[in-house]
């Protein structure tokens, strides 16, 4: 546990969190966090693509398949738990569940920093899983929301003619939002960088090594400093969210971590490093790609609920406690 807390990236996350708690006037220039996340996606994409260029195609395809399984499956589990808890209405349940099927690149990169600090090798396949898992959960979230919306309208006895028009409108909107989910900036950037990393000549890749490797951890520190401040800003919302949902924000990633560990080791045959990264992918919740999609397509859901859970509860939990916890689970399963 201590080894995780003493990684500079995690310490910077704690610094950002602390700065906000003591009401420091520390503030990033506008758009810097967005610029840093663009750099991180490009760097991890180039690095992962370069490694994948030398990797086994069959294992890569298998990883993509299991990434899709997690991306489509995790929101369904989350939705079922939330609806069963009766603490949120189905629209909020759909929006929250979508966040837990998608992934947080920040958490993934912190896990990479954790593995580097312990000098544990890891497979490159989870990087492609990171790219694949950004979008499917948005699709599932939208379908769950559309289904819940229709059930709600039926319960309230919406007139038939209006419901018909609504169907066509819903379909148009769904097509539009599905296109947006798969052309999402993070997905295009990550997949595009991976393709460039895979096809670029090795000698030209060596020239950009300082950009994608040497400064990577430093930039991650800056990014996590800002995310620490963003996470701490959500604490004020905890009372509105309620204890049951906060427990969900901790229990859901642990459940995801267990499922990811099983898939990483049993289905994909990865070692400790690769399995830990799959566990982290399954455990993490999106706070970049999914919230805008839900805000646009599921306006009935409350952003203060899904953002507080993904950014204020699950992200800090994963960064500080989750990653070493999943590491323990992985070591118990794979063997030290």
């Amino acid at each position: 546990m201590l080894s995780n807390l003493l990684i500079p990236a995690v310490l910077f996350f704690a610094l950002g969190f602390f700065a906000k708690l003591i009401k420091s006037d520390l503030r990033f220039p506008p758009d810097l966090a967005k610029a840093l996340s663009i750099y991180l996606l490009v760097a991890i994409g180039l690095h992962g693509g370069y490694e994948l260029g030398k990797a086994d195609l069959l294992t890569a395809m298998n990883s993509v398949m299991w990434a899709l399984f997690l991306g489509f499956g995790m929101p369904l589990i989350g939705y079922a738990i939330l609806v069963f808890s009766k603490k949120v209405d189905p629209m909020n349940a759909a929006a929250i569940a979508a966040h837990y099927g998608s992934v947080s690149a920040g958490t993934f990169l912190t896990a990479v920093a954790y593995l580097d600090s312990l000098q544990i090798e890891y497979d490159s396949y989870p990087v492609i899983m990171l790219a694949v898992m950004e979008s499917p959960a948005i699709v599932v979230g939208l379908l769950l929301a559309a289904w819940s919306r229709r059930r709600l309208a039926q319960k309230q006895g919406a007139p038939q003619a209006e419901a018909g028009n609504g169907d066509e409108h819903d379909r148009n909107k769904l097509t539009h939002i599905l296109r947006e989910a798969f052309t999402n900036g993070s997905v295009v950037l990550l997949l595009g960088s991976m393709v460039i990393g895979a096809v670029a000549a090795p000698q030209s890749m060596a020239k950009i090594k300082p950009f994608i490797e040497d400064i990577f951890m430093g930039v991650l520190c800056l990014f996590l400093l800002e995310m620490g401040m963003e996470a701490a800003r959500r604490i004020g919302e905890f009372r509105r969210v309620g204890a049951v949902l906060i427990v969900f924000g901790v229990a859901m990633p642990v459940l995801g971590g267990m499922i990811g560990t099983l898939i990483g080791h049993e289905m994909l045959g990865f070692g400790v490093g690769g399995t830990l990264l799959v566990a982290v992918l399954a455990a993490s919740a999106s706070y970049i790609a999914v919230p805008p999609a839900m805000r646009l397509a599921v306006p009935e859901a409350s952003p203060s609920l899904y953002l507080t859970l993904s950014l204020g509860v699950t992200f800090p939990f994963n960064v500080v406690f989750g990653i070493p916890l999943y590491h323990m689970m992985v070591v118990m399963m794979v063997g030290a």
Partner: protein, 102 residues
């Protein structure tokens, strides 16, 4: 003294994810153009710090003749009915070249 013509300025303050929808609304209702500023602030949806996409607001300005105001406000009310959070201000302005806003 220049000759001034009265028009209406509609200002919408909302999340930046709604930018595309607002552009669609004004184009479909015949406005000739619009101006957008990124903004930060606080309101019923909590603080909007402008640091993340989800936390960024926009201030959307469009100037239209009185005859087009009602249709535009109907469309904005539709967005609010669907659950989107937006604030709409309508004010009187005077412009130099009215043909630019027809």
């Amino acid at each position: 003294m220049h000759r001034l013509y009265p028009e209406k300025l509609i200002t919408v303050i909302t999340s930046d994810v709604l930018e595309g929808r607002l552009v669609q609304v004004v184009k479909q209702r015949g406005a000739s153009g619009y101006t957008i500023f990124r903004a930060q602030g606080a309101g019923s949806s909590g603080e909007q710090s402008g640091m993340l996409d989800i936390d960024t607001n926009i201030v959307f300005h469009v100037v239209v003749p009185l005859a087009k105001v009602s249709a535009m406000l109907d469309a904005l009310e539709d967005l609010a009915r669907k659950g989107h959070h937006l604030r709409v201000l309508v004010s009187d302005v005077n412009v130099l070249w009215p043909e630019k806003f027809e």
